[in-house]
């Protein structure tokens, strides 16, 4: 086997399960589209999935506008996916990315509004730092609790998600409400908005997310801290034996994960939304879990998974406009992908794969860490 072929082969071995899960999900969603077409205005229309997927593809990739939309939608998912993926590497399931996203969005909105008149470089930098710091601080809490009391991070982060959303709703109505608007929201972010680099909406957050992908990869692969994180995740006993301090590494990893989650909120706020209000949704937080699972916690995998999910996001409106296939079909496709990854036996049976042990790492993280105590 030549070098290039071998590389392609090993790449395929890693990617085959996710790719086939996507294919299978698209096929099943197509069946759902066909069946449901019988009950809608279009009438029974077996070719509808081709049109729908065609429009989805066109809306996501077929023009520079579409491509920008995809990247803009993918950027927060990259950061969110990295947040979850980094946690998985350390054997932690940070479901709290949704809350950290909100905290980051809120912090950047508040700081951004305060610095709206300052020079762009200062305003943007400070707002993004605020986003990361808020996310990190929020995620540090469950990390500390896990290390020192054994409270499972899945439970504590879910709780904190709710607490955060409510706390921020209060803050935006009573603490930082901007006076000129008819509903409670933060002020205009002015110069704190991420500069648009390309086309109408490709903002600074996109290259920032891409750089972060490689930064996290570098952290995990090339630094001693990354080695510690991976060791704690792969075998906590061996980590303790080797003298690594899980009591430090677990909270630190959670904080880093939260930093990424907060940054995701920051770039979404400063690059797209522009103001914080209590109705702001945090779907990025949950989609990030899917992205991390699909990308198998690997930064490069997460890059591709985020672009895929971003493409779904970006292409869906055109699909709905031109074919009347509702946007919700995207939710179905995403859910099916995750289902097939989790139950990867189905994919293997359908495609007659033999290579075992290529399932998702996240699922084992969840089951394995449940009830396990960090020991120092």
């Amino acid at each position: 086997m030549s070098g290039a072929r071998a590389r392609l082969g090993s790449w395929w071995r890693l990617a085959q399960l996710p790719v086939l899960a996507i294919v299978l999900a698209l096929v099943i969603a197509a069946a759902i589209i066909i069946v449901s077409s019988a009950f809608t205005g279009t009438g029974f229309f077996p070719l509808l999935p081709l049109f729908a997927y065609g429009a989805l593809f066109a809306g996501a990739f077929a023009s520079d506008i579409a491509l920008n939309n995809t990247l803009v939608a993918a950027a927060p998912l990259m950061l969110g996916g990295l947040a979850i993926g980094l946690g998985f590497k350390a054997g932690l399931f940070n479901i709290g990315v949704a809350g950290q996203f909100l905290a980051g969005a809120f912090a950047s909105a508040v700081v951004g509004a305060a610095l709206a008149q300052q020079p762009v470089a200062l305003a943007v930098t400070a707002s993004l730092l605020a986003a990361g710091a808020a996310g990190a601080a929020l995620a540090f809490i469950p990390g500390w609790l896990k290390a020192h009391t054994g409270a499972h991070e899945v439970v504590t982060t879910i709780m904190l998600n709710n607490a955060t959303a409510l706390l921020l709703a209060w803050a935006v109505t009573d603490l930082v409400r901007a006076p000129v608007f008819t509903f409670p929201r933060t002020g205009e972010i002015g110069n704190s908005a991420l500069p648009v680099l390309l086309g109408r909406n490709l903002h600074l957050g996109v290259p920032l997310a891409l750089i972060t992908i490689f930064a996290v990869r570098w952290l995990l692969e090339r630094t001693t801290l990354g080695f510690e994180i991976r060791t704690v995740g792969a075998n906590p006993n061996a980590a303790r034996y080797a003298g690594m301090p899980p009591l430090v590494i677990v909270p630190l990893t959670m904080a880093l994960s939260g930093l990424l989650g907060g940054l995701a909120g920051g770039i979404q706020m400063l690059g797209v939304i522009g103001f914080y209000a209590s109705g702001i949704s945090a779907s990025v937080g949950f989609d990030s879990i899917a992205v991390a699972l699909l990308g198998r916690s690997d930064p490069i995998g997460i890059l591709f998974a985020a672009i895929l999910f971003g493409a779904f996001r970006a292409g869906a409106p055109l699909m709905q406009i031109t074919t009347s296939v509702p946007i919700e079909i995207i939710d179905i496709i995403q859910a099916l992908i995750i289902l097939f990854l989790a139950a990867n036996l189905i994919v293997r049976r359908v495609f007659r794969l033999r290579a075992p042990g290529l399932g998702i790492e996240g699922a084992t993280t969840v089951t394995r860490t449940w009830g396990e105590q960090v020991r120092g």
């Binding site: 090339r222 801290l225 080695f227 075998n235 034996y241 003298g243």
Partner: protein, 518 residues
């Protein structure tokens, strides 16, 4: 069994056709040829030993037989007909049973439930008929000559009992060919004898047994025929009645090996490790180390003999900082390290080979090179500041692979793909160095003669270079062979101390079992 009986039996059996035949089995993994045209013939009602070093290809061959791997070429015949074994379910259906080195039992389920798992007896469509299963299990156990409580929870059983559950599980599924992968690796001598009785009984009933081991004495005691495999090839077939341990070992390793540790007299120097009145509790809060005093000087090997579970594990964990003692003191070269963090202990010059390499010693999902720096990843030259030096790490791995003869295709393969013995060598290679104190907990468990010889030799070299060595082993022979002083531990207390020269095996055995010599 007398020699005559054995010959007669053999004659009777050779007339029948083989129960199982593997012909020209070849299996290639990236970088290695694990099986290279292996022929193996198992006759009905024989105990056939498969002898080979770690990584020789024994496990690969048996995994092929059990349907876990597909051979690249070659065929399998059962009762003269070619068969294809697609997966373990297929193997079980054909009457092949396998008892793995690491038991595949669910600890919280009862014996009966474990045995039934996968082949449940049902009462109606949804209810399990545990009672019926229990009856059959009891009958099966009696048939092969041991008692077992089908209602007992597996986690409450001793390792030897768990192994019997595994055997019953295979028989329950009507296994005609039973593969035992290193069945005695974790057993006490008494338990080994008991299992041998069971295996002989099974043989009489007509079951064929494939016995994988590298314990030469055991193989000679139990086997009817021995096939020796080296580096994926069959290198010889031996008759246990007409061979010696030395011959087996030489054939297995491919050169002349010394089964005796060759060492000079110890020259103990300054005390390195000193333990005073140490009390340690296990995870459940029971005091398992109950006031241990010991001292080890540089340049001596102190062995701790004892039946597994008498506090050895907790003692070692307390010394290395993995477990906080509830009373007493540990000091290293005069500095108190009681309750210090593992890293602090390590930094004072302690190398530690843990008993459970998969739980503590290795990260199985990591490549060999990462594992060779698992405990030194922070130090130069493996890291400069926070940045790791991949080249230095790789170089270290390559050096150790050569120096310790680790059979790995390369430094970047996952440790999980290596055989147990080679995994152990990775740990040993990493931990043996210029340390002041070397703690070896079961250093050669599950390891073949060649590697054992090597590890023993290195241990003595380490001693002669001035290290203090603490050896803990369930293998009394190993302790006696290697130690300059022997301490006997029983129920968390040191109950005897012997000089290597004056140690009496029987007396130590009694102390291990009862805590007193009479």
């Amino acid at each position: 069994m007398t020699g005559q009986e054995r010959v007669a039996e053999k004659a009777a059996r050779s007339s029948t056709s083989p129960a199982l035949e593997m012909r020209g089995i070849t299996k290639r993994f990236p970088g290695t040829l694990a099986n290279d045209g292996i022929d193996l013939e198992i006759r009905p009602g024989e105990i056939h030993a498969l002898l080979g070093e770690n990584g020789a290809g024994k496990s690969t061959l048996m995994n092929i037989l059990y349907g876990l791997l597909t051979p690249d070429s070659g065929e399998i015949l059962m009762d003269g007909a070619t068969v294809t074994i697609r997966d373990p379910a297929d193997a079980i259906a054909r009457g092949i049973g396998m008892v793995h080195q690491h038991f595949m039992l669910v600890p919280v389920l009862s014996v009966a439930e474990n045995v039934m798992l996968g082949s449940e007896v049902m009462r109606g469509p949804v209810l399990l008929d545990v009672g019926e299963a229990a009856k059959r299990i009891r009958a099966l156990a009696e048939q092969v000559g041991f008692t077992i409580d089908p209602g007992a929870r597996v986690e409450q059983l001793s390792v030897g009992q768990q192994q019997r559950v595994e055997i019953v599980k295979a028989l329950y599924r009507r296994a005609r060919i039973l593969v035992l992968d290193e069945p005695t690796a974790v057993l006490t001598p008494q338990e080994t004898d008991e299992i041998f009785t069971v295996l002989r009984r099974l043989r009489t009933e007509g079951t064929s047994i494939v016995f994988i081991s590298h314990k030469l004495d055991e193989v000679l005691r139990i086997a009817d025929r021995i096939t020796v495999i080296r580096r994926g090839k069959v290198v010889g077939e031996l008759d246990p009645g007409a061979t010696t341990e030395q011959e087996c070992a030489d054939l297995m390793v491919g050169r002349s090996v010394s089964l005796k540790v060759d060492r000079g007299v110890a020259h103990p120097g300054e005390p390195v490790l000193s333990v005073r009145g140490l009390v340690v509790r296990d995870d459940r809060g029971h005091e398992t180390v109950r006031g241990v005093d010991l001292e080890i000087r540089s340049g001596e090997i102190v062995g701790i003999a004892g039946v597994a579970g008498n506090g050895q594990e907790e003692l070692v964990e307390a010394i290395t900082g993995l477990r906080k003692p509830s009373a007493g003191h540990v000091s290293l070269t005069g500095r108190d390290v009681t309750g210090a963090a593992p890293r602090a202990v390590r930094d004072r010059g302690v190398g530690y080979v843990p008993a459970d390499r998969q739980r503590y010693g290795l990260v199985l999902g990591f490549p060999v090179d990462d594992n060779t720096v698992l405990t030194e990843y922070l130090n130069e030259p493996y890291a400069h500041g926070v940045v790791r030096d991949d080249r230095a790490i790789r170089k270290r791995a390559e050096t150790l692979i050569v120096e310790f003869d680790i059979r790995a295709p390369g430094p970047d393969v996952r440790v999980s793909t290596l055989s147990g013995g080679n995994q152990q060598k990775v740990v040993v290679a990493r931990e043996f160095g210029g340390d002041k104190l070397l703690i070896l907990d079961q250093p050669t468990r599950g390891i073949d003669v060649g590697s054992t010889e090597f590890i023993h030799k290195r241990t003595v070299e380490q001693r002669d270079a001035g290290s203090a060595v603490l050896l803990v082993s369930a293998d009394l022979d190993e302790v006696l062979e290697l130690s300059d002083r022997v301490l006997v531990i029983h129920r968390g207390r040191i109950v005897g101390e012997f000089d290597a020269a004056s140690a009496e095996r029987d007396k130590i055995g009694l102390l291990m079992a009862r805590g007193q010599a009479a």
